[in-house]
Symmetry: C2
Subunit: 198 residues, 2 copies
């Protein structure tokens, strides 16, 4: 007894997705098979529509369905701040925090020479013409080894151009008890302490 | 700044899938956005094709793309053996073992009254007209509480009809050291021991 070819094809396509192995793909395929036809058609349509409508903003490389993304098109955003992030999802995360009103630049990755991700593989070059003297560039790449290396690389690249470069703060996450913080985080939270009396 | 509607729609559709929460759906959507158009079109097409081509076998309720599934249509399979399983994936798993040459019956679930899965929610009723006197019905539902309850329920239902009912063997999994086996498994492996000398 063999799988029907259309089932084999679906499992193969599903198992290409990140974080979905052959077993999960099979489970997912059986699940999809049980769903009403309308649900499958809606899923397929939304895949095609998203691919058709969405593209990178030509200025900041965020995902958008308009010529230029909402942030770049909004003159009320602080034009002298650019926050450099790894992925489009990071923009959403920062926007949700409500703590930022400047512009973004999305690299679409981090430097990882071992995996062949060299500076030319990132959307880094288009950041340079955006820089002006009065600007602050906030490096908001992750605090992983690659994220740190990427932040440092970009800092060295753009510092000579006369911009201020900053790095998002290290410290304890909100709602975290001290005893659960790892020692690196705790060390950074201590050395980055801020005075609260005058 | 807001997500483009087509991205919101895709994330919503993806997060309906089992085991995919809002965060994974977002990651998956960004991943899909980065893929070539042909890959997305192939994924969407395979979803639609699988849904169009596949249906349950009217005899055993396995997934098939032909009128009757390969197993039911094969006269060389032992016609006096029916193996009752929970899901179509279980049929594949048993077929891969190469240890079985009879027929199947796929319940599409297990009894779970707490979750509203009563006997009428399973493809159980169509099993009854398939039973004949000379048959052995192998209960191969899982060894979970629900799987055991389902096996016992079906056994009590069909035993009066004069068929032999059996249960797949309990024991140690292949390649497993004794010290890693839980006590229930070990107890069952001992009480189910088989003589190997004459």
């Amino acid at each position: 007894m063999k799988y029907p070819p259309s089932l084999v094809a679906l499992i193969r396509e599903l198992s290409r997705l990140p974080g979905i192995g052959p077993k999960s793909a099979q489970r997912l395929a059986f699940y999809l098979f049980e769903q009403p036809r309308e649900d499958i058609e809606r899923l397929a349509a939304s895949l095609l529509e998203a691919k058709r409508e969405l593209h990178n903003c030509p200025i900041c490389f965020n995902i958008t369905d308009t010529d230029v993304c909402d942030v770049c098109a909004d003159p009320s955003r602080a034009q002298n701040l650019i926050c450099v992030v790894e992925e489009p999802g990071d923009v959403i995360a920062i926007e949700k925090s409500g703590a930022y009103t400047g512009l973004y630049h999305v690299l679409h990755g981090v430097l990882s020479p071992m995996n062949g991700v060299t500076p030319d593989k990132l959307h880094l070059k288009p950041l340079l013409p955006r820089l002006r003297d009065d600007m602050e560039i906030i490096m908001a790449t992750g605090t992983t080894v690659e994220g740190e290396a990427t932040a440092m690389y970009i800092q060295r690249l753009i510092e000579p151009l006369g911009v201020v470069v900053s790095r998002i703060a290290y410290g304890l996450p909100a709602g975290g008890a001290l005893e659960y913080a790892d020692e690196v985080t705790l060390g950074r939270a201590l050395s980055g302490r801020q005075r609260i009396t005058k």
